[in-house]
C-alpha cells in the first residue's frame, strides 16, 4: 500500500516562521514549534523546517527550534537550509531532527550526499532541488533561487539518488508562492525517473493542487505552506479532500 504524505513546510528565519512569495516579501506567521505541534496534532504526516536565512548566527537558533520541537512533536521532521558539513547535520539530528535537507551544498560538492548517507543512513538524507524552466529543460538553481547552474534537474535528481539521497524535495521556482499549483511536468519527469520518493513543492493554492500533485505529478508526498499557515485550509480538510479523490492517506 502506498500512502501519500502531507507535509506542511515552515520557512524559518531568526526563529520565526515566514512565508515568501517567490522567496521574497516575507510575512511573519508565528512560532515554528507552536505551529509544528499544532500541525502534528491535526494529523500532519511530517513537518519540514527550512532555515531560509541560514547565516552562522541562526545555526544555534535552529538547533534551539529543533530541540524544543523534539519535546512535543512526535512525528518526523526534516530540517534544511545552510547545512554544509557532516557536523552541521549531526548537530540537527542529535537535537531531534529525523532528516536533514541539503541543497546548495550538494551542488557545490556532490560527495557530501554520499558522506551523509554513509554516516547517518540514506533515510536521513533529503536532497532539496530548486528548479525552473529554461530553454526546454529544467534548470537547477541554488542559493534560494539566486544562482543558476548548468545542472539539469532530472539528471541531478538521478545522480543524488545514486549517491545515497533517501528522498528528493523538488521545488518549482516558477511556481513557488504563485498559488498556481505544482509544476506537474517537472515532478513527473523526476518521479518517473528516480527510484526514491519524491516530495512535490512550490505553488499550492488549493486542495485540488495537492491531489493533482499525486495524480498528475506522481509525487509520493505533497508539501505546502501558505494554505495552512494563513488558515485557509486545515490539515484534516486537506486529507479528507485527498481521500475523497481516491488517494490513500493516513486519516487525520
Amino acid at each position: 500500500m502506498q500512502v501519500t504524505r502531507l507535509i506542511p513546510c515552515l520557512d524559518v528565519t531568526a526563529g520565526r516562521v515566514v512565508k515568501g512569495v517567490r522567496f521574497v516579501d516575507l510575512i511573519d506567521a508565528g512560532d515554528p514549534v507552536e505551529l509544528a505541534a499544532r500541525y502534528a496534532a491535526q494529523g500532519a504526516d511530517e513537518i519540514t523546517f527550512l532555515d531560509i536565512t541560514a547565516s552562522s548566527d541562526d545555526r544555534s537558533t535552529m538547533i534551539d527550534v529543533v530541540t524544543r520541537a523534539a519535546e512535543q512533536v512526535f512525528v518526523p521532521f526534516t530540517v534544511g537550509g545552510g547545512i554544509r558539513t557532516i557536523e552541521d547535520a549531526r548537530g540537527l539530528l542529535r537535537a531531534g531532527a529525523e532528516k536533514v535537507g541539503i541543497n546548495s551544498a550538494a551542488v557545490a560538492r556532490p560527495r557530501l550526499v554520499a558522506e551523509l548517507a554513509e554516516e547517518f543512513g540514506s533515510q536521513c538524507v533529503v536532497v532539496a532541488i530548486d528548479a525552473r524552466r529554461a530553454e526546454g529543460r529544467f534548470e537547477v538553481v541554488t542559493h534560494g533561487g539566486r544562482r543558476p547552474t548548468v545542472l539539469d534537474a532530472v539528471e541531478w535528481a538521478a545522480e543524488v539518488a545514486q549517491l545515497g539521497a533517501g528522498e528528493i524535495l523538488l521545488t518549482s521556482m516558477d511556481r513557488d508562492g504563485t498559488r498556481d499549483g505544482y509544476d506537474h511536468e517537472l515532478n513527473r519527469a523526476v518521479a518517473d525517473t528516480v527510484g526514491v520518493p519524491l516530495i512535490a513543492s512550490g505553488g499550492v493554492g488549493s486542495l485540488q493542487d495537492l491531489v493533482d500533485g499525486v495524480v498528475v505529478g506522481h509525487a509520493d508526498a505533497v508539501l505546502a505552506a501558505s494554505i495552512f499557515h494563513l488558515g485557509e485550509h486545515t490539515i484534516p480538510e486537506a486529507k479528507a479532500y485527498m481521500a475523497a479523490a481516491g488517494i490513500v492517506v493516513r486519516p487525520a
Partner: protein, 201 residues
C-alpha cells in the same frame, strides 16, 4: 528506569523524549554495565544494519543485551534495532545480528519503492502486548529491509505484500516502524510497552 541504548547511532533523543512523554523514566545509557540495573531496555537503530552491528560489537553491548533479554525484562528493538534481533541481513552480508530471533532480514519486494518512507496501517495478526487486535494503528516506517513474517510476528503492514511490523516473543519485542515518530498511535504503543515493566510473564 528504562534504558535507551546509546551506542553512537542516530537520533536517540526522540526515543527518550517520547518515553518521558508517556510518563516513563527513561535514560540514554552509554555504559553496557548499566543495563544490569534497567527495568526495561530499548534498542534503537538507524542507518545500515552493518554499521549498527559493528557499533554493538565496538561498544561491547552484545553480552549485556543477551543477559538483559534472558533476564526476562521487557526489551524493545526499534527499526534497525529490531532487525538486529535477527541473525543477519541481506543489507550487510557478513555482519552478525544478535540472533535472538531466527532468520535473516531481507530486502523488500522489488516492485515497490525503496525505502518505504511513509505511514502505513499496522494490523495485529496475533494477540500481543503492543498492537491491539482489531484496532488498526498508523505508524511511520523508514526501511528497505525486513525480516520474513514468522511465528514471532504479531503485526504486519502491507507494502508489496505482508511485511513484519511488530514481533513479540515473551518479553522480547521489536517494531520495524518508529513509534517515537508515529504520533498518538506510536505514543500509545510506547505506553503499552512501559506498562510491561514489572509484569511477570
Amino acid at each position: 528506569m528504562i534504558a535507551v541504548i546509546d551506542y553512537g547511532i542516530g537520533n536517540l533523543r526522540s526515543a527518550v523524549k517520547a518515553m518521558e512523554h508517556v510518563g516513563a523514566s527513561a535514560s540514554l545509557v552509554s555504559d553496557p554495565g548499566e543495563l544490569a540495573d534497567a527495568s526495561a531496555v530499548v534498542l534503537p537503530g538507524v542507518g545500515s544494519f552493518g554499521r549498527c552491528a559493528e557499533a554493538l560489537s565496538a561498544g561491547s553491548w552484545r553480552t549485556p543485551i543477551r543477559e538483559a533479554v534472558a533476564s526476562g525484562i521487557p526489551f524493545l528493538g526499534i527499526c534497525v534495532g529490531f532487525q538486529l534481533l535477527y541473525e543477519g541481513s541481506e543489507e550487510s552480508p557478513g555482519a552478525r545480528g544478535l540472533g535472538l530471533l531466527p532468520g535473516m532480514v531481507r530486502r523488500l519486494p522489488g516492485h515497490v519503492k525503496h525505502p518505504q518512507i511513509q505511514w502505513n496501517r499496522v494490523e495485529a495478526i496475533a494477540p500481543n502486548d503492543l498492537v491491539p487486535v482489531g484496532q488498526d494503528q498508523w505508524m511511520y516506517f523508514v526501511h528497505s529491509y525486513a525480516p520474513s513474517v514468522g511465528t514471532e510476528t504479531v503485526a504486519t503492514c502491507d507494502y508489496g505484500g505482508p511485511v513484519a511490523a511488530a514481533v513479540q516473543s515473551g518479553s522480547l519485542c521489536g517494531v520495524q516502524f518508529h513509534p517515537e515518530k508515529s504520533g498518538d498511535d506510536g505514543l500509545a504503543l510506547l505506553r503499552r510497552f512501559t506498562e510491561l515493566v514489572g509484569v511477570d510473564r
